[in-house]
């Protein structure tokens, strides 16, 4: 029985898939369940320690290697980034979106991750605005207009999830182009299309539309859910966007979250300008006023526009009465880490770790976790090129992805004051 299996495995690589025939004869190729184990034998990575008990599988070095690859592709050089973004999300609701290769359906997966993306987007880009467009029956509808409040977008998206008909990229691009032409010149115009279909049904010449978008400086990116399509690739190449196709749900999540941080700005695309903005004060708890967003009387806890004294409920927003953009200083501060990025830490190679002259810390500077590996030998670690403190791999990932401060550099007094000063 075993020999039979070996034989089949050897000549199984070149055979076709054939899911229907479970008990097939010799030389017909691998079964479906055998194919999943042909390359990856996860049981071989288990190890036993001295007493015969199983060691837990250490995924840390794997995740860290993944993170380092991601960091290398995003260079640490200070590139000018487009911080004030006007982004349209185009969701394909044609009949291809009902396919179930993503569970429960492509449309449901897209909606779930778009909701998470919208929240992450406003977290990282508080001064930007998002709009939603759907393509159904070959026609593009604008679901929500460009706005800065995540709740309204999420609510309207979740309410309208039905798919039918064909999909048309040209109609979507035309609609988005008309909306994006109305925005101020200092904003960066972007479109992100989630494409499930394998074709596009257009009323005219899509190449003309692509050239129109390119001339209006709209950066179009596409995330495909089925296969690579030439027209999407061409669109992204022409407008300077990025095209990627998702392999599965977790890959899709990774791809969509890559669009949350601001992309490198192409200098001619947005004209730098000084934008007038207001910093409203919080009203006293006992004050009663009619708020301009809900048109009803509210007690306490709102903000007063400094120019027209109208009351607004939350920030950031645009005053409905006089059109002034209202923000608070933490909103600006959220974008400062894009302007002042921290340097990636250096990996300490094994040769450095075994060098007896090198002073190695016993514990990570940030979290005090022991940096000793098995048998009290120095374990893997990274060090900051500026302050030379050593950190564990988990702190490295946390510092660069969330905190954006090096604890070592912040715990040392600089002899010269840093250029950025406020308050």
């Amino acid at each position: 029985m075993n020999n039979n299996g070996e034989e089949r495995r050897l000549n199984g690589a070149a055979e076709d898939d054939d899911d229907d025939e479970d008990d097939d004869g010799n030389g017909r190729g691998l079964e479906a369940w055998e194919r999943t184990y042909a390359d990856e034998r996860s049981w071989e990575s288990l190890q036993e320690d001295e007493s015969g008990l199983l060691r837990p599988i250490d995924n840390k070095t794997f995740y860290h290697a993944q993170y380092r690859r991601r960091l290398r592709s995003a260079s640490a050089v200070r590139i000018q980034k487009g911080l004030i973004r006007y982004l349209f999300l185009v969701i394909d609701l044609s009949k291809a979106a009902a396919e179930m290769d993503f569970r429960p359906s492509r449309m449901a997966v897209v909606a779930k991750h778009v909701e998470a993306f919208i929240r992450e987007f406003f977290d990282q880009n508080p001064l930007s605005q998002v709009g939603l467009v759907t393509i159904k029956d070959g026609v593009a509808h604008c679901l929500t207009d460009l706005g800065g409040s995540p709740e309204s977008h999420v609510k309207s998206l979740m309410g309208k999830l039905e798919c039918s008909g064909e999909s048309s990229i040209q109609n979507a691009l035309d609609l988005v182009h008309d909306y994006l032409n109305q925005i101020p010149s200092y904003g960066h115009r972007e479109v992100l299309i989630f494409y499930s279909a394998l074709s596009t049904c257009d009323p005219g010449d899509i190449m003309e539309t692509i050239q129109k978008c390119k001339k209006s400086k709209i950066r179009c990116s596409v995330i495909g859910l089925s296969a690579e399509i030439f027209i999407c690739k061409h669109l992204c190449q022409e407008t300077g966007g990025s095209y990627s196709v998702a392999l599965d749900e977790s890959h899709f999540k990774e791809l969509i979250l890559e669009h949350a941080p601001p992309p490198p700005a192409i200098a001619e695309y947005a004209i730098a300008n000084l934008i007038k903005m207001g910093f409203p004060q919080r009203a006293a708890e006992s004050s009663i006023a009619i708020c301009s967003c809900h048109k009803e009387a509210k007690a306490g806890g709102g903000y007063t526009c400094p120019r027209c004294k109208a009351r607004v409920c939350e920030l950031p927003t645009e005053c409905q009465t006089c059109g002034l953009t209202l923000i608070s200083s933490p909103h600006l501060a959220r974008s400062y880490h894009h302007l002042f990025p921290i340097v990636p830490f250096d990996e300490m190679s094994t040769s450095l770790l075994s060098d007896p002259h090198r002073k190695l810390s016993k514990a990570c500077f940030g979290c005090q976790q022991s940096l000793l590996g098995f048998g009290n030998k120095p374990g893997p670690r990274v060090s900051c090129p500026k302050c030379k403190h050593q950190f564990c791999l988990d702190c490295d990932i946390y510092i660069h992805e969330s905190l954006h401060n090096c604890p070592g550099c912040e715990s040392a007094r600089h002899s010269k004051p840093v250029a950025m000063s406020e308050e």
């Binding site: 600006l332 400062y336 604890p407 912040e410 406020e422």
Partner: protein, 274 residues
């Protein structure tokens, strides 16, 4: 902007990170002597550890030139001066604090004591957040972390960006930052930190009774806070200051490239030249 929504905490086990300000430039001019302050804090730490068997405490000293861990309750401490009068916790903490202050003083560079005497709050906040991340990774049953800043030194404007980064990271991880400010004027950074992360900011009216403030306001765990009326934040000023005159403005001009704030319209941004 909205204050942080409070998470629903199901358990009352807490991890308290205490950031202790040891800036000698502040303590030499404070009405509350440092030794009295320490005795209030030590009693408070003991009471935290008594509230629940699984509670953990870690103390980071915020110095003038450096920051370091001086106490960690989860590490089994070596026996200190167990002479029956002082428990091992106190002696360990005091010993490490003594060593830290000596080291901190030695790091003083000539001529660096100009301007306001600020301590390195951004450094100790960053270290506390890294430690908290380690606790989050330790498994599904972990204590609920929070940070308490015992600060007296005034805000250092050069630390603004770093402190805001730390505040946003704490907000994302849902870690409240409480502050007990012992200096003379209010600290805008700590007020913003507590407002954004959903913590409590307090400036005690009578610093001599510090232990009472600490044990009534800051000792409760996050689960029980929903049943208490804690001091509310009032008058948090979120206005920005302009880069040219450093005065607070309520309407200004923002450069779309580098986000510098100006009070008057210019043709070119002086920071980035656009």
């Amino acid at each position: 902007m909205a204050s942080a929504p409070s998470k629903l905490y199901a358990d009352d086990v807490s991890l308290l990170m205490v950031l202790l300000d040891t800036n000698p430039l502040f303590w030499s001019t404070s009405s509350l002597p440092f030794s009295n302050f320490l005795s209030h804090v030590l009693s408070f730490l003991n009471s935290i550890l008594l509230l629940n068997q699984l509670n953990q405490v870690a103390v980071i000293a915020t110095g003038y030139n450096s920051c370091d861990y001086i106490f960690d309750s989860s590490v089994s401490t070596s026996r200190g001066l167990e002479n029956g009068r002082m428990p091992a916790l106190c002696s360990n903490l005091l010993q490490k604090l003594e060593e830290f202050v000596v080291r901190d003083e030695q790091l003083c560079k000539e001529g660096s004591e100009n301007g306001l005497a600020s301590s390195l709050l951004s450094g100790s906040l960053s270290m506390a957040l890294c430690y908290i991340q380690k606790i989050f990774r330790s498994g599904p049953l972990h204590p609920q972390p929070r940070i308490l800043c015992l600060q007296g030194s005034s805000d250092g404007p050069e630390q603004y960006v770093a402190i805001m980064n730390a505040i946003f990271s704490a907000q994302r991880s849902m870690v409240p930052i409480d502050s007990c400010y012992l200096g003379s004027n209010n600290s805008a950074f700590l007020q913003q930190a507590s407002y954004i992360t959903g913590g409590v900011y307090l400036k005690p009216q009578q610093p001599d009774g510090l232990f009472q403030y600490l044990s009534t306001v800051f000792a409760t765990d996050l689960h029980s806070r929903t049943f208490l009326q804690l001091p509310k934040s009032v008058g948090v000023d979120f206005r920005a200051s302009c880069f040219c005159h450093k005065k607070t403005i309520d309407m200004g001009y923002i450069c779309s490239v580098c986000l510098s704030i100006f009070c008057k319209h210019h043709k070119k941004c002086s920071t980035c030249g656009n």
